[in-house]
């Protein structure tokens, strides 16, 4: 395990450097002065002159790249004029809200998707099997932000069951328990939206995987032994079906975060997506660049964790 871990960890730095080189290339290919992309709009002449010299934009490209890499790798992603804060601190401040939203959605959709997928796979052709299959097909085609809007219209607008926007009520006093309940109340609709989107993937994967496992020899043996069907399904079939499900879900963290981004805009959830939206509207180039970088690093680490979990659970991977 140690050697696999080391080998896998060593693959991370080249990817991060690759991402920075990609950023740098895009900045220089795009029409316009790279200075504004790196520093943002809103400064005065003397500031721009000073930054141009500091970033070495009058130097040859390779030197600029090295300066850019050195800056970014030490956490300097520029400064946001609009928020008057370093870009990295600004972005990292929004990460917890996004993690809360996408984490809740991931847990909810995984539990529900695995359960429905397993039950449906055990009864091929049943009503549940067909209904879940059809529903997952529709869900895979639903635009996330639209689903969010519909849920808003019905549950927050017409029924008035949930708050329309934000993460915390503006007039909330006191913390602790009251705060927790308030955040949970705000979380239901956005997390529900995101969970529904994710559900299609989880259901299909589990359904497929359990069906394949149920066709294996050891399941026949278990049946021949006379084990109860429930035990065979959950103890034997499901356990052996979960590995591919976990891997694929882990590999789709980028999709999950992209879904979270648009859902955050619909519900004014104060996370990365909302920040990205504000930055796009105000042309806060350094913030957009920074969010791409931070989200990419998050997905790289999610993939790493998934691979390590897989290697831990399935020894064949480690020695391959």
């Amino acid at each position: 395990m140690g050697r696999y871990l080391l080998r896998r960890l060593l693959q991370v730095p080249p990817v991060v450097v690759g991402l920075l080189v990609l950023n740098f290339t895009l900045i220089h290919l795009a029409p316009g002065d790279p200075l504004y992309f790196l520093v943002g709009e809103g400064g005065d002449e003397s500031y721009y002159a000073a930054m141009r010299a500091r970033l070495g934009l009058d130097r040859p490209l390779p030197e600029q790249l090295i300066r850019y890499l050195a800056g970014a790798l030490t956490g300097d992603l520029g400064r946001s004029f609009r928020y008057n804060e370093p870009v990295l601190a600004l972005i990292l401040g929004r990460v917890p809200a996004t993690l809360l939203l996408s984490g809740t959605a991931l847990v909810g959709s995984t539990l529900a998707g695995v359960w429905v997928g397993t039950v449906a796979a055990a009864r091929p052709g049943s009503f549940l099997d067909r209904a879940a299959d059809a529903l997952s097909g529709v869900l895979a085609a639903v635009p996330g932000f639209w689903l969010g809007q519909l849920l808003l219209i019905v549950f927050a607008g017409w029924l008035g069951l949930f708050p329309v926007q934000g993460m915390v009520s503006p007039r909330l006093t006191g913390g602790g328990w009251a705060l927790l309940v308030d955040v949970a109340h705000h979380l239901v609709l956005p997390a529900g939206t995101l969970a529904f989107l994710q559900l299609a993937l989880t259901f299909r994967l589990t359904h497929q995987s359990v069906r394949e496992t149920l066709a294996e020899d050891f399941i026949r043996t278990a049946r021949a032994k006379g084990l109860p069907p429930g035990l065979i399904l959950y103890r034997h079939a499901l356990r052996n079906s979960l590995l591919p499900v976990v891997t694929v879900i882990g590999g789709h963290v980028g999709t999950l975060l992209a879904g979270a981004a648009v859902v955050e805009v619909v519900f004014a959830w104060p996370g990365l997506g909302r920040l990205l939206y504000e930055a796009v509207l105000t042309r806060g180039y350094p913030v957009v660049l920074g969010i791409f970088l931070v989200v990419s690093v998050m997905t790289v680490f999610a993939n790493l964790l998934t691979d390590l979990a897989y290697a831990y659970l399935d020894p064949r991977v480690r020695y391959a």
Partner: protein, 289 residues
């Protein structure tokens, strides 16, 4: 190469034999309706769909079947013209992703060695980068023009087709008919184009078709974030404009979203059907590869 799989000797108890998949009437119906809407947009709503035609924020009624938006524009006209944008984006993106994927996957699979190694590292790199955020970044830097959005989204989708094609070519490369062509002195590019590619393209077409729906949704998401082309009416932009009126004017959100859903569902069902035609084991390919 002979492969032995467990399924070939174990009777499948859990998977009953299904009827052979019929022509996907639902998919063709949905897509046909959207295509009719796109083709007939000028008949349904002649003139510029983005001009003001009536009072603002009217609910659906006899004058404006789907209502009007906050600027008094007719929703039906915008939905109809938006169909053109979405279909164009879906088709063009698939072409870009397919072309780049075939080029990279073809070279990588056929020539192997160092070229293959480098191209595959590049492919893996683009597979781990979150494509939606990359597309957002590129459109922010280069400006929201429709052809650029198509190019950028297409370029984020090529790793799927590239990897599938590569693995197909690896399987075909050592087959007798390829060796025979080489023994007869055919040039490498001729063998690749004439003998290998035609036999490897099926799964690539399916993968690309499965990506069309994702491409349409990605463009809609970009438009929703305010990164759509302002000169072309698009469903994503309409949904973005609907956001401030979500509690007062439900129709602004419901109709463009339904159109989007119908299109993507139609495309996905058709791609699924193609997939089933090609793969006797009815295995669903993952559209997000």
């Amino acid at each position: 190469m002979l492969t032995w799989t467990r399924e070939s000797v174990t009777p499948k108890r859990t998977a009953p034999a299904r009827r052979p998949p019929a022509l996907p009437i639902g998919a063709l119906g949905l897509l046909g309706a959207v295509a009719l809407l796109a083709l007939g947009a000028d008949l349904v709503a002649p003139g510029d769909p983005l001009r003001t035609v009536g009072p603002a924020l009217r609910p659906p009624g006899p004058n404006h079947l789907l209502g009007t938006d906050d600027l008094g524009r007719d929703l039906l006209a915008m939905v109809a013209h938006g169909a053109r944008t979405s279909l164009l984006v879906g088709a063009a993106t698939a072409l870009v992703a397919g072309a780049v994927g075939i080029l990279v996957g073809g070279i990588s699979g056929y020539f192997g060695g160092l070229v293959d190694d480098l191209l595959m590292r590049l492919t893996e790199f683009f597979q781990v980068t979150p494509r939606f955020f990359l597309a957002t970044l590129a459109v922010v830097l280069f400006g929201p023009k429709l052809w650029l959005i198509v190019g950028v989204v297409g370029l984020t989708f090529w790793p799927g087709p590239a990897r599938i094609l590569r693995s197909r070519i690896l399987a075909l490369r050592g087959r007798e008919f390829v060796l025979a062509a080489r023994a007869l002195g055919a040039p490498e590019f001729y063998i690749l184009g004439r003998h290998v590619l035609p036999n490897a393209l099926g799964p690539v077409v399916v993968t690309t078709a499965l990506q069309v729906g994702w491409a349409i949704l990605t463009e809609a998401s970009l438009s929703f974030l305010g990164l759509g082309d302002r000169s072309a009416p698009s469903w994503g932009q309409m949904l973005s404009n609907a956001q401030p009126f979500i509690r007062t004017a439900w129709w602004l959100s419901v109709f463009p979203g339904l159109a989007l859903l119908a299109t993507v569902l139609g495309v996905n069902l058709l791609a699924d059907w193609l997939n089933r035609q090609l793969d006797p084991r009815l295995r669903r390919a993952d559209p997000r590869l």
